[in-house]
Amino acid sequence: MAEPFLDSSSDYVDRALAGFALDHRDIVDLHDNPAFVRAKATAPGRRVGLVSGGGSGHEPMHAGFVGAGMLDAAVPGKVFASPHNRQIYEASRAVAGPDGVLHIVKNYTGDRINFGIAAERLAHDGIPVARVLVDDDVATESEKTATGRRGTAATIVVEKLLGAAADRGDDLDSLAKLGSLVASASRSVAVASLAHTSPVTGELAFPLPEGEIEYGVGIHGERAAQSIARPPLPALVSRMTTEVLGKLPAGDRAIVLVNGLGGTTSIELYNVFALVAEALHGRGVEVAGSLVGTLSPALDMKGFSITVTIPADDWIGLWDAPARTAALRK
């Protein structure tokens, strides 16, 4: 296996942040100690600061979605580890609007706790704070544990729609309510054909027999509940689309994300997207908004996820509203 191009004697997450901030210095500022990325510009009418974050290894999520029209700040943890509450707390204080701060949180224990602690601290300071929990991954729906569905790529849809709603001046309650509606209307599923390379050991995180794929992987390199014999791509995409649609309300339009898990080529992702669009069309659903690329990977894992959001009437307008971030421009 090929070790990552990382200098293990350095803090490579911090150095990546410094590189990112230099590359996108027209869009973001990097705050140091604690580390967070902050938008240089925000809409004048915005009354609520939007903050998200989570483990590193999922770039461009979240720092790539900081900027006018989307997040006001993003807080990165170490690889696959929740950010520290102090990062979240200080980022939130820095970008709080007159109507407070909204936290967009992926459903993982560590993120829930650390965002929760930061929220307690903000409340202690008198800053209004609310939370939108994103839990889109259908593969974790039937698990026995109380932890619920994992949060994955639908977070980007939530961030985009809430960003646009915040720009039009929505207050904290409306944003929290809209966010939870968007999360409820969004589901994802992911497959992988090769595990990610651990930055610590340089080895693949798990083995996978020739001809099999993991069906229902998450974005932390964990195995899925099932390994299945690899179907031809059209059959696989059709199965995934059917499964995702089955967990969603009916609708005739969809916002579609096809997300590469890391080592997946653009040719592969656009083949998947074309097949998703076909599968949706076959069920009377048209693609009203889309995003295709390596958006929320698990380092260099080979695989992809499909996310579908069934939008309410005015969400397409929010999806198409202006945004100026490193990873998404509208």
């Binding site: 989570g54 943890g77 929740s82 950010p83 993982y108 224990t109 560590g110 602690i117 202690h124 932390h220």
Partner: protein, 220 residues
């Protein structure tokens, strides 16, 4: 000072707490608690009153201490500080602060009694405190807190890292629960001279966990 006493307890118990967290977690709880309290004591002025002690300790644990326990304990301490600051340094304010802090820990950590966490010390000890009268008999309360903490040895973990080992945790108490029992021990030590919980007083010091204490390492 209260925090110095708590630190002494954490120093004495460091080896045992590490061992306990190793049995059902990743072994860094001893480091997190001792490291946090060392930082707090170093930051505190010599003449700090109780409110200042809790204020500085709360912020320090929230800002600087790693693991799941660090900031959760920080929330507890910060809520006590708020209560003391608002209502004066009375037993009633202390108890009200502990109540608010426990509520915050439960809001954030979503653990209920029986999940095998620090809540299994806090919640029943608060029940004890509610029926203990004013002034509080802190020595009795500290004894009860230790019993509640010890009782976690028969619980199988459902929250946090320990949930991964399941029933293999049985027989050893929860590290965070024991760490909170030491806070009550320190509160009681202000007025009476109390025996140190024997199972936590280990003579030889194991190697520290090698994980950095300041990063939060829960999957995210």
């Amino acid at each position: 000072m209260l925090m110095s006493t708590y630190l002494e307890a954490a120093e004495t118990a460091h080896a045992a707490l590490t061992r306990i967290d190793q049995a059902a977690g990743d072994g860094d709880f001893g480091d997190n608690l001792r490291g946090g309290l060392r930082g707090v004591v170093a930051a505190l002025p010599a003449d700090a009153g109780l409110t200042t002690e809790f204020t500085v300790a709360g912020t320090y644990f929230l800002d600087e201490v790693g693991g799941t326990s660090g900031p959760l304990i920080g929330l507890l301490l910060q809520n006590v500080a708020v209560s003391l600051g608002r209502d004066g340094e009375t037993d009633a304010a202390l108890v009200a602060g502990l109540e608010a802090g426990t509520a915050a820990i439960q809001r954030v950590g979503e653990a209920v009694v029986g999940d095998r966490t620090m809540v299994d010390t806090l919640a029943p000890t608060l029940d004890d405190l509610r029926t203990s009268g004013d002034p509080v008999d802190w020595a009795a309360i500290a004894g009860r807190a230790l019993e509640h903490a010890r009782a976690t040895a028969s619980l199988s973990p459902r929250m946090g890292r320990a949930s991964y080992v399941g029933d293999r945790a049985l027989g050893v108490p929860d590290a965070g629960a024991m760490g909170i029992a030491l806070l009550f021990w320190a509160l009681a030590s202000r007025s009476s001279s109390l025996a140190f919980p024997s199972e936590l007083a280990s003579p030889s010091e194991p190697a520290s966990s090698s994980e950095p204490a300041s990063s939060s390492e829960l999957e995210a």
